[in-house]
């Protein structure tokens, strides 16, 4: 059964016939016909997020998708996606003090490439007095978590079918560490290198991980099986240009995924 939390990529892989449903539902999904975009966008987006992006009713979409694959679905009330008007909540005052850097990603998407790299590059080059003004035809919901992880909050406006998203640096109290984001996006890599450090006592897990880094190239994801969250490691990873994601699998069992930034 396909649920609201199912990733679009997983669904398309298991039930290729569902692509047809998506294409019928909204022209926003037409981008999924492009194999490159399908590969880069689809694994990150859940059905719920996809419905929100396309502005269609989530429960209707789920009904249609499940009908297509022949699964029965319990009828339930699913909240419809927030209307664009609701998103125009309160504009943060900080935006008035900062200079916008405009980035229209619509031409990039039209050209069939993933705009993520361009967005990240722009974000990294932002001066302290600047913020990113992103323009797109759909709401880039997965991007919120990606940039939140890099210390950016967002404010979204919707005018005439166009989304304007303002990404600005999070403001935190002195001595406070930014709270970890609720979700993050792990890139899909060709190779996965596994490393089990659960039998090692500190600091040997960190040694083994850092020693394995030279083998982690652009095509590789390092999956570390750890017995605790490696708080000491993060700074080292950051300095060496790696990104990471930690997921608690069970009590005293964590998956730490590491890739080249």
């Amino acid at each position: 059964m396909i649920s609201r939390d199912t990733k679009v990529g997983k669904m398309l892989k298991e039930y290729p016939q569902t692509l047809e449903v998506l294409l019928e539902t909204s022209e926003h999904f037409r981008k999924l016909q492009n194999p490159i975009l399908r590969k880069t966008l689809a694994p990150r987006v859940t059905i719920e997020q996809a419905a929100k992006i396309a502005g269609v009713n989530l429960s209707e979409l789920l009904q249609k998708l499940n009908k297509k694959i022949g699964a029965t679905m319990p009828i339930q009330e699913t909240p419809s996606p927030a209307s664009p008007a609701q998103r125009n909540a309160e504009r943060p005052g900080i935006l008035d003090k900062l200079q916008p850097v405009d980035l229209d990603v619509r031409p990039i998407l039209q050209g069939g490439t993933d705009p993520l790299k361009t967005i990240l590059k722009t974000i990294e080059q932002l001066a302290p007095n600047q913020y990113l003004h992103l323009i797109n035809s759909f709401e880039p919901i997965p991007l919120y978590t990606v940039l939140c992880k890099r210390g950016f909050d967002h404010f979204t406006e919707y005018h005439d079918g166009i989304f304007h998203v303002h990404f600005y640096r999070q403001v935190h109290g002195v001595g406070k560490i930014p709270p970890p984001p609720a979700d993050t996006v792990i890139p899909v890599k060709e190779k996965t290198l596994e490393l089990d450090v659960r039998h090692l006592s500190p600091p040997e897990p960190m040694m083994k991980i850092l020693e394995a880094l030279p083998q982690v190239d652009e095509q590789t994801l390092l999956l570390v099986h750890h017995h605790r969250e490696p708080l000491f490691l993060y700074e080292k990873l950051q300095l060496r240009g790696y990104k990471w994601h930690v997921q608690k699998i069970a009590e005293n069992y964590f998956h730490v995924k590491i890739w080249k930034a």
Partner: protein, 431 residues
């Protein structure tokens, strides 16, 4: 639970922690040297000039110094926040060092004038700044855990214990406290040892020992009970002693005292049971030299507790010397047996780890770096452990026997052990 990028390291400057550790290591060696010297006085009543100096060399110079250094490092890391002020911590260190040194020197010669009181006051101010710094650090904590709660309780207690100490120092200069000076001294010692040393050791042990022994999957119920019982019983003992102060040594207050002592013993038993659970659930089966020290420390904690409770029931017909020797033995078990062995044992873990992290963690994968166990001679450390145990036990036997020669032999063996320990620590710092 999903978490990710933390751009800031929580740990305080290495130099801050290192300074505390170096002074503490030196104080430990000086303590063993002083024990050799004071051997003739290690009998009879405990209230003697050299013994008072010696005790404060142990509790301030060695034990509190290392505890403060370790807490500056541990609190931010364990509770995921930043030390409120590293500069204040450095400043505190430079107040505490002369304060404690002045106190020890004055007590050693029993110079009980304004000097002792002044240095005591300086030490109290240093403790107050230390506590302020850590309380401000704890105020930023979002995710509390059992270790944090122990530390919070210990911070409140050390201020009370230190303040009581200063009140006692003033009393030695100009007597003003009603009743027996020793009555307050007993409260001061127990408050400091139970509320400060024991609570910090318990809280930190729940975190560090499983971390290095790779233990998990056990229940923490006993540990929580231990905290409740030890804190409650410590407060209880203090109130019982306050009552007996006003009521004289009435039978009722004595019964109250015994009740809280038994409650305290139950709490300590719960702590030891919790540690036994951790030990049984460890994945790292081969015990290293650090673990051996730690296990011995907990055994001595159990023995000290048992002897402490027994004090109430020692037959009055026993010779005075033996009963006084038992009180000295009680202190010996608590200070050297429990605190000493756990400190030496944990330093074999913490010091290599911190030095390694500070010097080599940035080079891992890019250059050859040593392993932790390559940073000191483990064989030498085993000899150190053997000597420490032998010296400790010989001196322990000497105490109730009031045998100066035997105590001195024990102290010399202990000093040899301390010398090896210092050598090992120098090796680690110089790696």
């Amino acid at each position: 639970m999903i978490s990710s990028g933390l751009t800031t390291s929580y740990a305080p400057p290495f130099a801050l922690v290192r300074n505390h550790f170096i002074v503490s290591i030196v104080a430990y060696f000086l303590l063993t040297l002083a024990l050799v010297i004071v051997a003739p006085w290690m009998q009879g009543h405990y209230f003697q000039p050299h013994l008072l100096g010696l005790t404060h060399l142990a509790t301030l110079g060695w034990i509190s110094m290392i505890m403060m250094g370790a807490l500056y490092q541990l609190v931010p890391v364990v509770l995921e926040t930043k030390l409120w002020s590293a500069r204040l911590a450095q400043f505190t260190f430079w107040l505490f060092l002369p304060g404690a040194t002045g106190m020890i020197v004055h007590l050693w010669d029993y110079r009980t004038g304004p000097g002792l009181w002044g240095f005591g006051l300086l030490t109290l101010v240093a403790f107050a700044l230390f506590v302020t710094n850590l309380l401000a650090t704890l105020a930023q904590v979002e995710k509390w855990n059992i270790t944090g709660i122990h530390i919070l309780a210990a911070l409140v207690t050390i201020i009370l214990a230190a303040a009581l100490g200063v009140a006692l120092a003033y009393n030695l200069w100009k007597t003003y406290l009603p009743g027996d000076h020793l009555h307050y001294l007993r409260a001061h010692a127990h408050l400091a040892f139970l509320g400060w040393v024991l609570l910090v050791v318990m809280g930190v042990a729940y975190k560090l020992i499983p971390m290095f022994a790779l233990a998990h999957g056990y229940s923490m119920t006993a540990g929580k009970w231990a905290f409740g019982l030890v804190s409650f019983a410590t407060v209880g003992l203090m109130t019982a002693w306050s009552f007996s102060l006003f009521a004289g040594h009435a039978a009722n207050s004595n019964r109250l005292e015994i009740f809280y002592a038994l409650l305290l013993a139950t709490g300590i038993a719960a702590f030891l049971w919790q540690m036994w659970l951790v030990y049984r659930h460890r994945r790292r089966k081969q015990a290293d030299v650090s673990m051996h020290h730690t296990v011995l420390s907990f055994i001595f904690l159990g023995l000290a507790t048992a002897l402490g409770v027994t004090q109430f029931f020692l037959p009055v017909r026993w010779p005075q010397a033996v009963r006084e020797g038992c009180i000295l033995l009680y202190g010996w078990l608590a200070v050297i047996g429990f605190a000493g062995f756990i400190i030496v044992g944990q330093m074999y873990k913490i010091v290599p780890f911190l030095v390694w992290f500070n010097k080599y963690s940035d080079k891992v994968g890019q250059a050859t770096v040593p392993m932790l166990k390559e940073m000191f001679d483990e064989q030498l450390a085993k000899i150190e452990l053997g000597l420490m145990l032998a010296g400790f036990l010989i001196a322990a036997v000497a105490l109730p026997l009031a045998n100066t020669l035997l105590f001195r032999i024990g102290a010399i063996v202990l000093m040899a052990s301390a010398a090896i320990f210092v050598w090992n620590m120098i090796t680690i710092f110089k790696t």
